[in-house]
Symmetry: C2
Subunit: 257 residues, 2 copies
DNA sequence: CGCTACATTGATGATTGTCAACAAGTGTGG
DNA sequence: CCACACTTGTTGACAATCATCAATGTAGCG
């Protein structure tokens, strides 16, 4: 702990050149048009991606052909980890709108992880967060009712959009009802019905994909959670300029090693 | 790839001292009695564990108190990764029977990852596999019916027990109907009913926790999958003696970096 | 303007959860 | 050794949630 604290005093905002040999301006990027696929299931695993702008959905498909939306990534989220295991991607990643992603050679990430504590923490946490995220989603899919799921979905999205600079209480859904249903393990009709239901109850206002959140407490109550019971957010692996941020390692404090 | 091949010729069975400074005989272990908890949600993250003998269940709990079984780990499986993200464990891990686990200081794992290609591959894959496993489970939970889930569960368990040296077609469940239900997102009564149903159809024979698999093709048909559509297994991070195995990196072949 | 994709709403039924009773097995203590 | 409590598993009856099918409405786009 004391050692970590000492480290914090080292250069933080201005990443040392050993950490980011590439200047942000020349960090490779890739642009996608609305509807375009970043990579598809079966593609050989290549670089990782970090969303810079735009909104995506990731589609996991099982052997028998069924498809499910597993995430709705946006700025700061990492894409491509699903290919590390087998060497081939398991997911399709599709852009909802015109988007831009940073391209990170996986070898470069491993160099960070080997050369710097900070990079190692980032990589480790990026992987680990993916695991806890999946656990949360599994809990949602197995032990909640449709009403709860939709409420949780709205609140989660509201917060994430808010963090992107949009209004917390007024935003536009990027995805169809079917995407939402797939993500939540529901049929699109059920989603539609529940949104209408929430509107009748005065919790929200819906107009197609335009959502106004009118009664946060009511929605939270539906979920059975409290607003503060959310997990702390992980810092993105790259900031908006393409630099490595410095992350404190809250996770290593208790680890007595 | 050529460099990796060269490595294969190096001593493999007898791990070089730089890889495993601790001799297997003195690798720390921990014994658990039936029903004992390896670690619980909220515990500070410490070492990782690799199951040597025995059978476990892992329980993920959400903020509002609901609990779900997320895995049924057995020999070779890694426990404790769920704490890497936040620094605190998110899961309870409970032993079904008297069990023994290897204890791996996380720092030691990171040393492997930094010092050797092989260790890095092992760590990377261990994390990544956890992610793909979760995706598979999410698909199961969202888009299948109870009948499929129970059939998949039986086939999966059959194969895993078989790999532990037990019979593929005759084995004993370690967990209760409730555990199975929780794992599959079903009520225990539903599980019980479906097992009885499968028995009436002649697919299996059930006697409490004793299962005889009588008609594999029929069960596979229920799942909608084929036996070979399974993902390849990952090598355990430690073999039964506590040594690091050597893993080929099929995953890096297509990655053009 | 008409085509297409997306969304809403209703009617209906199937799957699954809930409640309840009972059986079987296990361990404990008298 | 038996009685007892306790956990686990089975089965039935019933209800509720949610999926399915179908019809209609709406918005975007060439």
């Amino acid at each position: 702990m004391a050692r970590a604290a000492a480290k914090v005093l080292r250069p933080v905002a201005i990443a040392p050149s050993i950490v980011t040999p590439l200047k942000p301006a020349i960090r490779p990027r890739r642009r996608l048009r609305r509807g375009e696929t970043l990579f598809g299931a079966g593609d050989p695993f290549g670089p990782l991606f970090v969303v810079r702008t735009g909104h995506f959905k990731t589609l996991a498909s099982s052997a028998n052909g069924q498809v499910q939306v597993t995430r709705f990534p946006m700025a700061g989220d990492v894409l491509g980890l699903d290919g590390v295991d087998t060497g081939f991607h398991q997911c399709d990643v599709v852009a909802f709108d015109n988007a831009e992603v940073f391209v990170l050679a996986f070898a470069e990430c491993e160099r960070w992880a080997q050369d710097t504590e900070n990079g190692q923490r980032l990589m480790r946490r990026t992987f680990a967060r993916e695991i806890t995220r999946s656990h949360d989603h599994m809990l949602l899919l197995s032990a909640t009712r449709a009403e709860q799921r939709v409420a949780m979905f709205l609140l989660d999205l509201s917060e994430r959009y808010c963090r992107q600079g949009e209004s917390r209480s007024r935003f536009a859904l990027r995805m169809t009802r079917q995407d939402i249903g797939s993500y939540l393990g529901l049929q699109l009709e059920t989603v539609s019905r529940l949104l209408s239901h929430f509107q009748r109850e005065g919790f929200i206002q819906v107009q197609g994909r335009e959502i106004s959140m009118l009664d946060f407490p009511a929605l939270w109550q539906l979920t059975g959670h409290t607003p503060d019971s959310h997990r702390p957010l992980i810092e993105p692996i790259l900031d908006a300029q393409g630099n490595l941020p410095f992350v404190s390692d809250a996770g290593d404090g208790p680890a007595s090693m």
